[in-house]
Symmetry: C2
Subunit: 189 residues, 2 copies
DNA sequence: GACGCTTGTCAACAGGCGTTGACAAAGCCA
DNA sequence: TGGCTTTGTCAACGCCTGTTGACAAGCGTC
């Protein structure tokens, strides 16, 4: 989407363009692998401008992470269908849900020393916390950890299989169904 | 364990010392965060020596990964107790099991562009494959993916909570018990 | 004892990184 | 039109990285 000629002068638009590009980049690559110059090239802007708008790379990463919104979108809709809905999204539509994009960013960079602390605090505030409150009932904390862990684990597992668990479509469906049952059991409890 | 004076000349010992140090480092930090000079300092040796013994950093990483052995250790013991055993190790003794150390390395570096391919192939060969063969029965592939995903996810979740899921000890026990039931159900199926 | 191979150290290189300050040009206001 | 602020570019800095080749010292062998 790069246009020839000089970039029109529009600070607000440029800022959000940078933020959008950063979100995409950090969802696809780790904190260490994403360079300021990469994001700048995506937007069609000089890397120095990013520093001026967002401060440091850490600040940009945090802004991108928080721009994904909290995980509450996961929890909208019928509670009795949570298992089916989430299992379907995790297995078949990893890129669709915005809250899963936030999780992609976390998973990509949780290993990095520079990013792990930001990831931890954000994850607690935007994922564990809301999930736990929404669950309610006995052992809500424990069930939230299990749910979150399972969802993250399946995302990692998909990643390891190269985007599709390295499974046949029919097998994916059966996995989705099994996963749905397990998740739902943790919801109902 | 650094001794003063020059290092005794012993190629084999030095080589394994380097490999051990690399395994520890890569289990604790991501591929990008681990520097050749860090490992060299741990061993008390010059970084150049590592290059000569192992070739490139990629080669060293792969050697460290493969030195953890395959995941078959996870599958030894009574099949009827698999759930309990693994749940206990995942929740309470993350550092104990060697095969979990291999998984730590994978989880730390799966996000890194340079390491992800090595992690993927190693994970398939040493973790998914053996688990699937060992499981047998209907839908072995699907159940193996679910099991592996859950185990990895709980490891990540523990990491995010700062080493203990951010839970009380009593809660950890209840989580272990719930996890054991879920894992065992996937084994038996 | 002198040679030669092995083992380890040291200094340096090329390349990449995030960040900074000076500079250019666009747009606004008087 | 002239000045001033905003927006963007450019070149450069200091730092860190993996890797290399030259050099030093230990050790076995003739």
């Amino acid at each position: 989407m790069l246009c020839p000629g000089p970039r029109p002068r529009n600070a607000a638009a440029t800022r959000t363009a940078i933020l959008d590009a950063a979100r995409e980049r950090f969802a696809a690559e780790s904190y260490d692998d994403v360079g300021m110059r990469d994001i700048a090239r995506d937007v069609g802007v000089d890397a120095a401008l990013i520093s001026r708008y967002f401060g440091s790379k850490d600040d940009l990463f945090l802004a991108a992470l928080e721009s994904c919104g909290d995980g509450s979108a996961l929890m909208q809709g019928d509670k009795a269908e949570f298992g089916k809905r989430v299992a379907h999204e995790v297995v078949f539509e990893p890129k669709k849900a915005d809250q899963l994009k936030g999780m992609s960013i976390m998973l990509r960079s949780i290993g990095s020393n520079r990013a792990s602390e930001m990831v931890q605090t954000t994850c607690s505030a935007q994922f564990f916390g809301p999930l736990q409150d929404w669950l309610g009932g006995p052992d809500a904390t424990v069930r939230a950890r299990l749910l979150a862990g399972f969802i993250m684990g399946m995302s990692i597992s998909r990643e390891l299989g190269g985007g599709s668990f390295d499974l046949e479509p029919a097998e994916c469906e059966r996995m989705r169904d099994r996963l749905a049952v397990i998740l739902q059991a943790l919801i109902d409890n």
